[in-house]
Point group: C2
Chain length 397, copies 2
């Protein structure tokens, strides 16, 4: 299968590229290195010492004998994406090529506009190229569970059968996302659904939970193949960030009450899910939504798990409550369905102390690289709120 | 009240500006003249011989003694919109400043991207300026009934109470819009809802039906005050277009079976609705949705109404079925709620033969200006479909 991976230099994109290459597919990746650029702008970086994309592609070639094609450019540039697709004629496109951070989207007006422009216009340009160049191609798009928000009813997979005033219809699940980043993914979902309905394209929207973990089967084969690992306020997701905090002796930063509950999955399961979606494609004209997570946890539960696991390794850990920089429910009902990928054969790697300890051991090897000032949240969902409070909370109690 | 009207040079924006000015409010308008530019690009124009914006503002001053402020620029330009809002400090913003055509958004990749960029990024820039400059300001945003599509259940006003697996929540009404333009309005609605939820802004989203009519109370006071009137494939909505076709002896262009049913309203009722929304503002933090139409009609019903009305005036009228350039249901259930504006006091001007005849008489005065080649649809929702069929249908039977 010819597979094109957008965002192939990223945390998930690079391991995905190696996985499909290892399975014998013809793989090309696209990236514009925006994540690296954002890190440079913030004076931050990956915990893991990743090589350049071409260095990693070269290392992969040495290790596996397989080639991965590289295209450098932005999908918001319609001519560029059109040329790449005309040249590679992909049968599957796996689309990670977006600005992926909620706090980054809420940082400033400029980053908000950048996020919605990059994500919505980039995906729209992509849809036109698929329509005009490879209309049979299966688009596997990374969305997020955050598109749904935290409704007071069970979250279904993309659609909801509604009975209203004696009539019935199955309609898109209503969305109440919690950031301008999450909104960009909602807009994408609506646009992609339209492209399937009107143009007959085929797509799978993977509403992914929060991913944790570092190593995958392929990256473990050579240290030059390691993927990036972020722990900073913008790109570090909660469990990864807690693990880094535990190793460097920083209090675990629980925002607010800690009752915020979300779906989570191991990076190894991300690869399984994307593979399952790609090898069981949607039908032409079909817009499928899979909720891609394996377990639900609250933030407090994760903090306690990391604390227990780290203390076993001899790290003393403090869990500390910080004023919540986000506007979100801190106690809420949350029950999301996730059976479609299980039905396709997903075998989850569940989260436990042993897994956390294996992450802690990898982090330990790189702990000298941690830039500590990048950890605490400075972005407020509502500017002007909480000023001074964080500073107070930062002082040792 | 200080009122800022975005898109104040347009079909609805200009009459709205005069209405608020006539009521004694302090009015300023913003426009970047994109509608005039798009017409120039297509070699088309308004049926009515409209003056420039400054000429009309000057004429309004002569007629009424009142001043309307003018700002020329694009709201996608964040610095511009920020400066305008800082200078005018509006208490109400009425936002018509978007690309308003479904066929234009489906014309090409470039116009699709332009539509979503202009509408989504423009509105996002506006939300930031409101948040940072006038957080108490009431945003009255023009959306469209087309955001809902044609679900098989009754359409409610923005939100739906859902019971699912024994639990309940009131969530945004699910959206299945029919064009990339309509999608841009769905994206806007989600972004505005977020700004109200997170930043505490206040907004009314007017999901407007298809507007018809030419004259309003204020424009009737002097012929220099007339508003634009479009009849071309891109900017001419169905009833206005049928009326022009009847006057020039062109067959009425029913697309497909003609069972497509939508909500409609008179331009005079648009002004009433916007006034009612502005004088009964949303609460801080509230995102309100009103379905703004007064009656539902199918396309065939409108064609028959125009035919009857025009024949009374001596125009022979042929109703002809054309291959549908859109992908849409041509027979479907449609029942939308529209009680909120009625509850606020809306007194509808209902559609009847007399009203159609009054439109026909105004059109008659300008019929020499009609550019006939601009009428038939050339844009296809799915490119490559129907090629040749329209050409066949165009030949006299």
């Amino acid at each position: 299968m010819r597979v094109l991976i957008l965002g192939g230099d990223g945390y998930l994109g690079w391991p995905t590229a190696m996985r499909f290459s290892a399975r014998g597919h013809e793989v090309a990746v696209v990236d514009n290195f925006s994540r690296r650029r954002w890190h440079v702008q913030h004076g931050t970086g990956s915990l893991t010492p990743i090589g350049s994309l071409v260095d990693r592609v070269e290392a992969w070639h040495q290790v596996s004998g397989d080639e991965i094609g590289v295209f450098v450019g932005s999908i918001e540039d319609g001519d560029f994406v059109d040329r790449v697709i005309a040249e590679t004629l992909p049968e599957t496109i796996i689309h990670y090529g977006e600005q992926p951070s909620a706090p980054y989207s809420m940082k400033s007006r400029a980053t908000a506009v950048e996020t919605q422009y990059t994500n919505v216009i980039g995906t729209l340009q992509l849809l036109f190229s698929i329509r005009d160049r490879v209309p049979d191609c299966h688009l596997v798009k990374l969305g997020t569970m955050g598109e749904y928000g935290t409704p007071n009813i069970d979250i279904e997979e993309g659609f909801l059968e509604i009975e209203h005033k004696g009539r019935r219809d199955t309609l898109p699940f209503p969305k109440m996302p919690g950031s301008l980043y999450h909104l960009s993914k909602v807009h994408d979902s609506h646009n992609i659904h339209f492209a399937c309905r009107i143009w007959g394209l085929r797509a799978t929207d993977l509403n992914q939970g929060v991913v944790y973990g570092i190593e995958t089967e392929e990256s473990a084969r050579d240290e030059r193949l390691i993927t990036r690992f972020d722990y900073d306020e913008y790109f570090g997701t909660v469990l990864n960030r807690f693990c880094v905090q535990a190793v460097i002796g920083h209090p675990l930063t629980v925002y607010g009450e800690g009752g915020q509950t979300r779906g989570f999955l191991n990076i190894r399961d991300t690869l399984q899910c994307v593979e399952l979606a790609a090898s069981n494609p949607a039908q032409l004209g079909e817009f499928r939504v899979f909720n891609q997570f394996t377990e639900q946890f609250s933030v407090s539960e994760l903090a306690e798990l990391v604390k227990r696991s780290a203390e076993e390794l001899g790290y003393p850990v403090e869990v500390r409550t910080f004023p919540n920089p986000r506007i979100e429910a801190e106690r809420h009902y949350y029950n999301a369905t996730n059976t479609k990928l299980i039905d396709l054969g997903l075998k989850p790697h569940l989260l436990g102390e042993e897994l956390v300890r294996s992450m802690l051991r990898i982090i330990e090897r790189h702990k000298d690289r941690v830039i500590e000032r990048a950890i605490l949240p400075t972005t407020r969902w509502k500017p002007g709120e909480l000023m001074g409070e964080v500073e107070a909370a930062e002082r040792p109690s």
